[in-house]
């Protein structure tokens, strides 16, 4: 009995090593054309407290997919989108990205968010697939990984925008109220530095709020006691619901809030309820540049999602990410990861003929012209760290549940305010 088991044991280990030795070779797609529809994977949270981020990413990607397929697709093949749910945490992001990478015709990954990038980065680099990081983490400002790109401005810029907006509103004393999530940590320093440069003071600073508690009265009292004119904040939706409730109990929501793209998300606004958001919250996040690219973006949105709704916050970045990546594939004339990656800056950085829609850019590429795609969200001119810069706007929630911009700040204004 035992002998059989022992043989079984050594047998299985042997087989495994044998498989490892000769099995599983890297699929070589060197310079080759796709054998079927080309795929891009959307990697984000589609469930959980930050699900609005994933939904926005998917929305933008779907719009780009429509534009691309209407113009004939990528290398003549239609573009398919696959998506995998990371639940906004590292442990789940690993099987999720593996699932996306298992497609043999995958040419790019859109995502993930800041929470997952540490776990995902080594995997996509080893797989050599260009990946469009959609998170704002300031740690990415000095990214050295050639396969990771970010076509949305860093939170360091978002922090500057928040401070600039609040200062121009006339506030001078500020409080910081952020939760302990890694994505919220990156705001404290840029906001503080910009605020100081503009001439304001920080009255109270809380950046370690534990999410998902049933009461935050102690911290809320601390903030109220410091008497700030405005509170900069980002937490997830459940935390916000309780926070706002506590503020309501203790000071009747007397102090206004300035938030980020997360506070402009559907879940967050629903959690604190639209009337409260309308009266007490302004969310600052990246917006689209006016021009032909944004017109195209809006045209496709109206086509795919007719009705009164606006595009979700940050959908424009996903849209541009997919378009520029598709153009890189067309330019490289190959679905091989390293080839596509090498072509990324060739299609979106100057010099080159400016183009604003996938169709016009594709025609130029086919004609052999060097292009410079200017996207809906910004110029997509990557710097040496694969980062970009762009405009921001302040949004208010209407009573009907839509975000409307009330003030815009251009990249130039932000650059001037950046310490």
């Amino acid at each position: 009995m035992v002998g059989t088991h022992r043989r079984l044991l050594s047998g299985s280990v042997g087989v495994a090593l044998l498989l490892a030795a000769c099995g599983g070779s890297t699929p070589s797609t060197g310079g080759k054309q796709p054998t079927g529809p080309v795929t891009m994977g959307v990697l984000s949270c589609f469930t959980g407290s930050l699900a609005s981020l994933g939904n926005a990413m998917l929305q933008g990607s779907q719009m780009a997919q429509r534009a691309i397929n209407d113009a004939g697709g990528i290398l003549g093949k239609q573009l398919m989108l696959s998506h995998a749910d990371t639940q906004c945490d590292e442990a789940d992001s690993v099987p999720a990205v593996r699932k996306l990478l298992s497609d043999s015709n995958v040419v790019g990954i859109i995502g993930p968010e800041t929470q997952e990038i540490n776990a995902v980065a080594p995997i996509v680099s080893a797989a050599k697939i260009p990946t469009q990081f959609q998170g704002g983490s300031t740690a990415f400002d000095h990214n050295a990984n050639p396969y990771l790109w970010r076509d949305s401005p860093s939170d360091s810029q978002l922090g500057v925008a928040m401070a600039l907006y609040a200062y121009e509103k006339g506030y001078r004393s500020a409080g910081l109220l952020f939760y302990s999530d890694i994505a919220a940590q990156t705001f404290a320093d840029p906001i503080t530095a910009t605020w100081a440069k503009l001439g304001g003071t920080i009255a109270v600073r809380i950046t370690d709020l534990a999410p998902g508690q049933t009461s935050y009265r102690t911290q809320v009292q601390k903030v109220i006691a410091a008497k700030p004119d405005v509170i900069f904040t980002q937490t997830d939706a459940p935390t916000a619901a309780v926070l706002f409730k506590n503020f309501q109990e203790l000071d009747n929501l007397a102090i206004p809030f300035v938030g980020t793209d997360v506070t402009g998300g559907d879940d967050y606004l629903k959690a604190i309820t639209w009337p409260v958001a309308h009266d007490h919250l302004i969310s600052v996040y990246g917006t689209s540049v006016s021009g032909a690219a944004t017109d195209e973006f809006n045209r496709i949105f109206a086509l795919l999602f007719p009705g009164p709704d606006q595009p979700q916050a940050n959908a424009n970045y996903a849209y541009d990410a997919v378009i520029s990546q598709a153009l890189a594939v067309d330019k490289a004339n190959s679905i091989n990861g390293p080839d596509v990656n090498a072509a990324m800056t060739a299609v979106s950085n100057p010099p080159g003929t400016a183009c604003y829609t996938y169709k016009t850019c594709l025609d130029l590429v086919k004609a052999g012209t060097k292009i410079n795609y200017e996207g809906a969200s910004g110029d997509l001119n990557y710097n040496k760290y694969n980062n970009v810069f762009g405009p921001y706007a302040a949004f208010q929630e209407t009573l009907a549940g839509q975000q409307t911009p009330v003030q815009t700040m251009t990249a130039a204004q932000l650059a001037a305010a950046t310490p």
Binding site: H5, S12, V13, T26, A91, K99, N118, I123, A139
Partner: protein, 322 residues
């Protein structure tokens, strides 16, 4: 497709290890331990902090060494055993039944709260990551082949644990344990030191759980609090119960049915637009229902435990039946 099968089988083997450990505590010793997944989680966390070295702030955690992988696994198992010793010393002394379960539930929630709130411990909610392909460079395995190696490793560990436990099952310790489960007072009358027996079983079960956790951390390369709600234990209990409580072959069957079949079959259900949560939520519903139904109609599981029968009694029974 092969990649998918490989990952499912690897997960199955890892959960098999965990379920075997749970079987020692519940199947053999009869203690409804709700802290079990805490040992799995500790094994995972410790494996990570012993291998990933120091990462830049704001990530914080204890230790942060870069020990060789096998050493880290041993360390992880040892820490799970230590925690089980502490909890067992308190909970097993005087408590049985519901009170024991409640105290262990409390213990695992304390651990869970510490892990998520006390950031310097295991980086709070963010958790840890970075255990990518341990031993790959030593053994010369490239990135894409590593999954096969891990599959083999998981199966090898599972078989080792299985063999070990089948030995234990028929040993004096195993028999004493099961007699204890049936009737504590009778066992005490026979001179068994109940407390020491149960404590030994508890620590042994936890060690195996920790080993499962170490493997799990290797498979996922990362670990954080959302990867282990204390109620995950229910899935393991369902596996042990459905397969056959007390029978290690039953446990294997149970893992296959509950974890492989149920978990994976729900993955293939079509997604209903607008309701992304339905498929995710169906799994625990099926598992919860399976738990209730089996407890009601077949509490011994599909492969009931083989009772040790006195040979004379056995023969007599057979003769009566004919």
């Amino acid at each position: 497709m092969t990649q998918y099968l490989v990952s499912v089988l690897t997960e199955g083997a890892i959960f098999g290890v965990m379920a075997l450990g749970l079987n020692v505590i519940w199947g053999w010793s009869g203690d409804f331990d709700l802290a079990y997944y805490g040992y799995v989680a500790l094994g995972a966390y410790m494996t990570l902090v012993l291998t990933i070295g120091r990462q830049p702030p704001p990530t914080q955690y204890i230790l942060g060494l870069t020990l060789p992988y096998p050493v880290a696994v041993v360390g992880a198992v040892a820490s799970a055993m230590f925690l089980a010793l502490v909890i067992g010393l308190i909970a097993l002394r005087h408590l049985r039944g519901i009170y024991f379960s409640i105290v262990t539930l409390g213990a695992v929630y304390v651990l869970y709260t510490m892990a998520s709130q006390f950031v310097p411990l295991f980086n709070g909610y963010q958790g840890l990551s970075g255990l990518v392909n341990p031993m790959a460079d030593v053994l010369g395995i490239d990135f894409n082949s590593y999954q096969y190696f891990l599959l083999g490793l998981a199966i090898a560990v599972f078989l080792l644990v299985y063999l070990f436990l089948s030995r234990v099952s028929s040993s004096r310790f195993g028999l004493a344990l099961r007699s204890l489960r049936e009737d504590e007072r009778a066992a005490a009358a026979f001179g068994r030191d109940i407390y020491r027996l149960k404590l030994k079983a508890y620590v042994l079960g936890a060690a195996i759980g920790g080993l499962g956790g170490a493997l799990f951390a290797t498979y996922v390369t990362a670990f954080n609090t959302s990867a282990w709600a204390p109620l995950e234990t229910i899935v393991l209990y369902a596996a042990v119960l459905v397969g056959g409580r007390g029978n290690i072959r039953g446990v294997v069957l149970g893992v296959f049915i509950v974890i492989v079949l149920i978990e994976e079959s729900t993955r293939f259900l079509p997604e209903i637009p607008g309701h992304p949560n339905i498929v995710l939520a169906l799994r625990p519903i099926v598992i919860g229902l399976a738990l209730i139904l089996f407890l009601r109609f077949r509490p011994q599981g599909l492969l009931p435990e083989r009772r040790y029968m006195d040979p004379i009694q056995e023969k007599a029974k057979q003769e009566l039946a004919t």
